[in-house]
């Protein structure tokens, strides 16, 4: 095989999305994210961050998911269409904002095993993955526990373990630090730093974005307002204020 260009991890070619009520949620968003890049998506509430993330995984109601002619989202050069959802979702590990939306089995171990079991792996392999994932998130002894007995931070980590157990190529995280205390937040940061694949993180926590992601996208009113290195974009006070954000402390000139 002659050298082919390495596919972009994620490509958005003019992504536009309207709610059934007619309101425009995303307006002609264009960007490309390379393998292994870490990108933060920031913006005021209602900017369309979550909607954007949902498009990556084809999680919106079925009629919205494109057909071959109209597809605007590409994951590893695969167009996200109805027929390819299964393959696309194998590539992406999606972490939702509320861990209770994602932790639905009676014990931690069963929940982490959910993904690998659905992938069709045999029992032995599933168990190995469960143990490895729990170790990776720092919860090796928590297998038999009932998720309701865990703290929010622990639940978030169990969700992450469940996602990592599927061995995804990239992680998509929706507000990962919401409701986390400082220690849990730090633990999450460490875990994410160790993940080698592509990461897209929608967040209000600009300091978190600064620590983890070299690149940032600013979304407001469904439009992509800025796309560049995090230290530059977030340090621009006019830009930040225009879009309902604030310059993080670390970047403020005295």
């Amino acid at each position: 095989m002659t050298s082919l260009p390495i596919p972009m991890a994620i490509e958005l070619r003019g992504l536009t999305f309207r709610y059934p009520t007619g309101r425009v949620a995303l307006d002609d968003v264009r960007c490309a994210i390379a393998q292994g890049e870490r990108v933060a998506v920031v913006g005021p509430s209602g900017a369309g961050k979550s909607t954007l993330l949902m498009h990556l995984n084809g999680l919106l109601p079925m009629p919205s998911v494109a057909t071959d002619d109209t597809v605007q989202v590409f994951i590893q050069s695969l167009g996200v269409t109805k027929g390819r959802l299964r393959d696309v979702r194998r590539q992406i590990g999606f972490l939702f904002q509320d861990p209770d939306d994602q932790l639905f089995c009676p014990t931690v171990r069963e929940d982490v095993a959910f993904g690998p079991l659905n992938l069709g792996l045999d029992q032995a392999e599933v168990l190995v993955r469960v143990d490895q994932s729990l170790i990776a998130v720092g919860l090796p002894e928590h297998g038999p526990r009932n998720p309701s007995q865990l703290s929010t931070g622990e639940r978030k980590r169990v969700c992450l373990a469940g996602v990592l157990a599927c061995d995804p190529a990239m992680l998509v995280l929706d507000e990962p630090t919401s409701n986390l205390d400082p220690r849990a937040r730090r633990q999450l940061l460490e875990i994410l730093r160790r993940f080698p694949g592509t990461q897209i993180i929608a967040t209000h926590d600009l300091d978190f974005a600064l620590e983890l992601c070299p690149r940032v996208l600013v979304l407001d009113g469904g439009k992509l307002q800025a796309d560049g290195p995090v230290e530059q974009v977030l340090a621009n006070p006019n830009l930040m204020e225009r879009h309902g954000l604030e310059v993080p402390w670390r970047l403020r000139a005295v």
Binding site: N57, R90, F96, P106, Q123, P144, P147, G162
Partner: protein, 220 residues
Amino acid sequence: MADNSHLVTQIRPCDAIPATARLALTLLVIVVSSLIPLEHWPAHGLLLVVVFAGLSLAGVTLGYLARRLMLFLPMLLVFGLSVPITQLHRESAWGWMVSLWLRCTISFLAGLWLIHVLPFPELLATLLRWRCPPLLVAMLAFMYRYIFILWDELARLRQAREARNFGSGSWRRDWVTNAQMIGLLLLRAMERAERTHQAMLARGWDGSPKFLGTEARKGE
């Protein structure tokens, strides 16, 4: 509200019995108690002794037992009394009533033993082994997890209601706000169910449940 896993933390002799047998044993006791001929007091007595022994082996304290019985017995009393009252002229009615009380109490205590010795995840595994439809077991597992979440949400709604109430205490108002609480819980729960469905899809769910095998459970 806590699940029953807090009841099963100590190591006891009962743990040596496999989960399937624990369930089967409970059902056996209940069936036997129903089959005892009326007013055969020695048999009733024997079964009572058996369940009490089982309960003490399971680590159930007398205080707890007394509390549960206090809640259970009044209803039973009322139901049982309805029989002789409606057949005052039949002598065997009283004997029948006492038999009924004993039968019900034995069954109740057997059920109490079960919830103390069988944690819910193991019950689910037992159901699967007994060929219960996997879809039903998956629904049970799902429901179990969300009972706790909804319970907390209900508590929060109650607190919010208390905070605004200023002790109005009007019966009609209480009724209406209770109905609103349930309605709100229902709406939120249905929305959460849709989100959870998406989380399931994101991890490859296709509608057919798959479970960790029994080998995993022995390690727990």
